[in-house]
Symmetry: C2
Subunit: 321 residues, 2 copies
């Protein structure tokens, strides 16, 4: 039987999204399962295989699937492993999970795996706002902060397959926030969705500013609450976005000094806040860039549906199989 | 006549070094001229052409030269220009000097140009300690801090030819030192030879520690003085190296998060201080790396003679012509 379809899977901290994709990049069918209801990776793989088989069987058979591509936090392209993935309930304790191999054995289809942000970068380059770009950086602002770096049209994997951990550059060198990775002061601990919520709790405690956010029990505040308050012109909520955007712009200026990309493309939940986050980012970026780059580096939102970029990018891996 | 020789030129803030190189990478003849005795780039180019011609004519004729490769601060590989080079007496005021074109017209030989640190990286990859490495970062610790980044065996130029300005990532975000590039808090303003001298002046003023360095008029202290004092076990001088190495290690950890190199290779005047700078770098790097990289990234000194790496790397450009 001709194998003219692939499956793309985007594994995030809370859900795993699955898509069946044809050769033109159409997502023919989609589903999702929870990724955080077990601490056992074998249990999760079994659940994922079942979900993939069910989705495929709705309109095709598993024999028609050429391969499965997966984007996952701390996914290693060279080894097919997920390593030290502290944002996954089943990923932190095991040093190295041979995920691609285990899944392939169970489902009987070849599996290729990469970092979730790298997968999103490939999706963006193939189908999104980065079409035609050879040098860009994809930043995912979700539960964590991820990155996929494209150099001369290729995803940067580095010596060991782990290049592009830009969520873990150090932004605050003294008394920085504790990060899930074990370090302190990482960009991710400030500029992720959870970082935004932490900033909210901090500013509520350390300032007297009136705010709608004070009506919510501090431990329950989410980045969505901050967004909704900012939309109602809440000053404190807007301060939180300014603080977050300023730090992202500072970090981006350093990234530009590294690889001089044509654009930085933002992706993930926080981008829904639009100008609230974009304006301070662009202002801070241009303030911190070397003169030769000021005003020259684009900052763009992904134009792919959030789930699609990662699924499509992951599926692109499967065509290589 | 067969054109089986090239010329490599390394333009630095104080001198320009010229070498005639054969196909095996032997430097057959070398000379140097001052690069900081004029503010007029045309005057400098004329002087450089004369020096190249004189050197070549000692044993060959200019007809035997296939091309000239140049490494220069802020050199642009794509355009052959030197842009906003604040460390060159004749480079800061002119926004963009079409150096390769002007020199080629005058000397009648094709000229190709790149960033001085990129040239050093090519030299190191071809003839030095990075032989066989596909992913490494070259850091030059001289008058300034430069960088050449190698990804999958190729120098990273980025979208516009200016990638690899790692001397200008921001290390101190509040009250950072003013940098020659117009920003504040740049790595270069702390970890270059001039940065080390600035640190010495600062620590002499802000501490009471006894030190040999107090015998030198503050404005005359150089990084060489600091090195010589440290060799005599001067505590303040050793503090200066610890401070410098700590900051370099912090910066390197962020660079690793970007491109995950096999090694970081150090080059330039400051590396003469050996363990005094290497020990705090390695300690700080491993302290700041994400767990997955701790202890795994090599930090090495260049093993090429200082002048050779840049000349050889620049000469490698000329073979492409």
């Amino acid at each position: 039987m001709e194998k003219s379809y692939v499956v793309g899977i985007d594994i995030g901290g809370q859900t795993a999204k699955i898509g069946v994709v044809d050769m033109r990049g159409n997502v023919l069918a989609q589903s999702a399962i929870r990724s955080n209801d077990t601490t056992d990776h074998e249990e999760f793989i079994t659940k994922l295989c079942t979900a993939v088989t069910e989705l495929v069987n709705k309109s095709l058979s598993i024999d028609q699937i050429r391969g499965i591509g997966i984007g996952a936090p701390n996914g290693n392209y060279y080894k097919g492993t997920i390593e030290n993935a502290v944002n996954l309930t089943w990923g932190g304790n095991a040093t190295s999970i041979p995920f691609a191999e285990l899944m392939s054995e169970q489902i009987g289809v070849p599996v290729k795996l990469t970092n979730d942000a790298n997968a999103a970068a490939v999706g963006e380059m193939t189908y999104g706002v980065a079409r035609g770009m050879k040098n860009f950086i994809m930043i995912t602002l979700g539960t964590g902060v991820g990155s996929g770096i494209v150099i001369d049209g290729h995803v940067l994997y580095g010596h060991d397959g782990f290049a592009g951990e830009l969520g873990h550059v150090t932004m605050v060198r003294n008394n920085g926030r504790i990060c899930g990775c074990g370090k302190t002061g990482c960009l991710e601990s400030y500029a992720s969705a959870t970082g935004v919520a932490r900033t909210a709790r901090e500013l509520i405690e350390t300032t007297d500013k009136k705010s709608l956010l004070r009506n919510i029990p501090a431990e329950n505040i989410t980045s969505k609450d901050v967004f909704e308050a900012a939309q109602q012109d809440d000053e404190l909520a807007k301060d939180i976005f300014d603080f977050t955007g300023k730090m992202l712009g500072e970090a981006f200026a350093d990234f530009v000094a590294f690889s001089s990309p044509e654009a930085i493309i933002l992706f993930g939940g926080l981008t829904k806040s639009g100008d609230l986050i974009m304006k301070p980012i662009v202002e801070s970026l241009n303030h911190n860039l070397m003169p030769l780059w000021k005003g020259k580096v684009k900052v763009l939102f992904s134009q792919l549906k959030e789930s699609d970029a990662a699924i499509l990018g992951a599926s692109a891996l499967a065509w290589e199989l």
